[in-house]
């Protein structure tokens, strides 16, 4: 078999059987080999940022990596922003970048570029598979690296001649996959001592500590120690809703996060980073840990968070039934004008059981988390790395990973335009994604930030650069252009009805929700 077939066989044998693709000439042998290895599901995207974001969303829900297929340096470049988000999410991802044949590089053909320099900032692992004989082994190593733990973006560069030549090595075999390493007992003892001190303390949960088992253990700890449960600002995947212990997400705005952290003397990190301001602002601190607060790391990325939290609960003598879960609760069906509040209530009123919510709602989505806190259990996926244009692709990948679960994508209008091509893939694959476009016709968050950084926000030239009217975007037309049915709603009643209708139908749909921007 040739290198391409050895690669595909290695991947599917390792359980990596979806490939979000945007191929070019140098990837043609990979594409041709899809018919030899039909266990691999090749999914075409119209832009690489859709492929990488979909691979991120897929792995967040499937718990195992998808592959991507990108075309040389420029194709990789188009996918980098969502690889940045995947890196921050610690998502396992096998990022395959086709390249010129090894001997062709020295001719500096037009598409030649420094792929290593482009890939390294987002890649936890990087290798060029320079011989067809090694493709299988290299692919297996990429899968190993992607899984971690913690998960990472493993970039495998596949020169065209490694793909087309016979591979004496054939398929490779990933290593056995041991569980995540345990947190040392002395670490747990140290944290238990700090929590027993009775001084003000909180747990900051992130990453793998945001799934139900870990949350139950964390809730027991919280009850025993009187320490509230905080959650990182942008979790990769948070399980929440009725019957699951709730957490208090740290605010995006530093002022809010500081208020949440004020007075703490012990902050316990559980697969989370010590809190810092998302951006720097003149005269404001970057480090959000209050003065005099000691930061303890209970769980490092890749370690076994649920086991550590359970051990901590035992060490504190927490009751086995001590977890406090969110009560079942839904807002009333809203009526009247569409606002951020009625939008939130509409989603809270109808969010189905077992939904996946992808949240790139930004300013307009601020109230949705509160309105869904008591909804039936669901997953919440967020903008982990701050690189906008994540929502639609992540929703696409999540729907591939979880075809039986309804996916709701809360998508701010400005951010939607970075990777809107995802709608086409949703239509082609018949994915059950309901995209709710929060259309305030502005980069509203920037109008706010313009004032927060201390800049004079008064000028018309500055404001025009943050404004999305003139012309207004028509998302129903844009969706239609990519084969996705859409409608624009004008009242809260229409929104609630449209959500219910879309969630009851198979396939994708888009709902445009006009909202007044904060400043207008």
């Amino acid at each position: 078999m040739n290198g391409a077939r050895a690669l595909l066989t290695t991947l599917v044998d390792a359980g990596v059987d979806v490939c979000f693709s945007n191929p070019g000439t140098s990837e043609m042998h990979f594409v041709a080999a899809l018919d030899d290895v039909p266990e691999m599901r090749g999914i075409l995207t119209l832009f690489e940022g859709v492929a990488t974001g979909a691979a991120d969303g897929y792995a967040r829900m499937a718990g195992r990596p998808a592959a991507t297929l990108l075309h040389l340096g420029p194709g990789l470049a188009n996918g980098l922003a969502n690889l940045h988000n995947a890196r921050r999410a610690r998502t396992p991802l096998v990022n395959i970048v086709g390249d010129h044949a090894t001997y062709h590089a020295r001719f500096d053909a037009p598409l030649q570029s420094d792929i290593a320099s482009l890939a390294r900032p987002v890649s936890g692992w990087y290798r060029v598979t320079a011989r067809a004989d090694d493709v299988g082994a290299d692919a297996a190593a990429a899968v190993d690296a992607a899984f971690g733990p913690p998960g990472r973006v493993a970039t495998l560069v596949l020169p065209a001649d490694s793909s087309w030549a016979e591979s004496a090595g054939g398929p490779g075999q990933p290593l056995p996959r041991p569980g995540p390493p345990c947190v040392p007992a002395e670490t747990i003892d140290g944290v238990a001592r700090a929590l027993r001190s009775g001084r003000p303390a909180a747990l900051l949960l992130g990453g793998t500590a945001l799934r139900t088992r870990a949350l139950r253990a964390a809730s027991r700890v919280s009850g025993a120690a009187g320490a509230p449960l905080l959650c990182e600002t942008f979790p990769a995947r948070l399980e929440r809703g009725a019957g699951i212990p709730g957490v208090d997400r740290l605010g995006y705005l530093a002022e809010f996060a500081q208020a949440q952290l004020a007075g703490l003397e012990h902050l316990i990190l559980v697969d989370a980073k010590s809190p810092v301001s998302f951006f720097a602002y003149p005269g404001k601190p970057s480090d959000l840990v209050p003065p005099g607060c000691t930061v303890h790391t209970l769980v490092r990325p890749g370690e076994d968070a649920p086991a550590a939290l359970e051990a901590l609960a035992e060490a504190l003598g927490a009751a086995h039934q001590g977890a406090v879960s969110a009560a079942a609760w839904r807002p009333d069906r809203p009526t009247g004008t569409l606002t951020a509040e009625t939008l939130a209530a509409a989603i809270g009123a109808v969010l189905p059981d077992n939904a996946v919510v992808v949240d790139e709602g930004n300013t307009s989505g601020l109230f949705v988390a509160g309105a869904t806190a008591g909804a039936p259990p669901h997953d919440w996926l967020t903008l982990t790395g701050g690189a906008i244009g994540l929502g639609l692709p992540v929703a696409t990948g999540a729907a591939v990973a979880a075809p039986d679960r309804p996916v709701v994508c809360l998508q701010a209008d400005g951010s939607a335009m970075y990777t809107l091509q995802a709608l086409w893939t949703q239509a082609r694959e018949g994915l059950g994604v309901t995209t709710v476009v929060l259309a305030n016709q502005s980069y509203a968050i920037l109008n706010m930030e313009l004032q927060r950084v201390g800049a004079d926000a008064g000028g018309p030239l500055a404001r025009r650069l943050l404004d999305l009217t003139d012309p207004e975007l028509d998302f129903v037309a844009l969706a239609h252009g990519m084969g996705v049915p859409g409608r624009r709603v004008e009242t809260a009643e229409e929104l609630t009805a449209a959500l219910e209708a879309s969630l009851a139908e198979p396939g994708p749909a888009l709902i445009e929700v006009p909202l007044r921007a904060g400043r207008r």
Copy 2:
């Protein structure tokens, strides 16, 4: 004044007075300063690849750089593919990337990334302006670097605190700009000797050798030496049409290029690279220079191409009136079915005087160059680096640079989807761009390449990954969604009429031209 104002003042003083922007929080002081320096025209794009491609198109037509404004590493990443094209075009471009405040970097906030690693592959010059006092001087150095010659992408990273702090240095002053260096006389003599040998020879023109003055001199050389004029496959800007000497562009397919070069014993490079295959193919050569052919470099990038060609013409004793220009000629207005041929004839029949044609027509646009060879003089801008998604943004920037010239963008459908957001900026700015979407509903070039690389093209799974039906894209709806009027034509007559109507109207328009893909 603060650093942001010092930066903007430096740029406009240096003649860089357009900034294609997609800002975020770290760029808010730059945005706010636009009202203090209204000579700078800030143009909002909805995606960074539009900003960088527009800056490329602007400079190709204006002959001086535009600035970009991008948001940290992920914003830069989204703009890299078109910066790759700009690098290959040797376009002067001041690429401004906002970053976190210098002191914020160590906190590894979500958007922190290795900007240097991302920027270096596309940047001929790179600097972080780490102190507000230096912003003016650094910006002036960026402008110097961008101009070259040859032109290059100069990336200036602007940390937020360099932007917001007072700048003691104030605005900077670029160096005086001397003309391009002359080609040494002995180089010209050497080439003249080779051409006088009487052995088969050709000139391969690229870069700055493709403007009318250089083409006239090259045509004199061609006549005197009996050496045909070839042109690089993907010129940044080629002046052509009635009254201008024509050139024979090297084919994209290596087989065609080899046929054009066959039998040559001397190949004279005039601001062009020695010809190589665009991609590698099993068993086929990468270097397209025929065996036994000597390659001579007359003009290196940045050197004075027209002067060198004129000196060479004199050395060969070429007649001053010896240039042979293309005759005025137009195809008849086509009738009937839309095909690649009738499409080409329609454009040839109506292309207005002084038009700018941006060509990302790929397979479907193959015949347009021939059908416009005798049209009134016009400029032809192409996909210099092979990174698709260039057409719409370059057309946008070209229209900003040349508001009195009609811009026609030949845009293949698959490639259109990478940077379609450019349409919105065209609508907002009222730019006179007629986009002709060549809609064959496939990555047709890849169907061809699938066979050319030797891969088995037979499989349905492979073919589905190159197919853009299911669902079909509706470009009229997509254009409408971004405020651009569009129509779909069904016959050659309708196309010709639609082109004339659009070219007669101010503002942008889109014409969708359904074409049958080669293989279907």
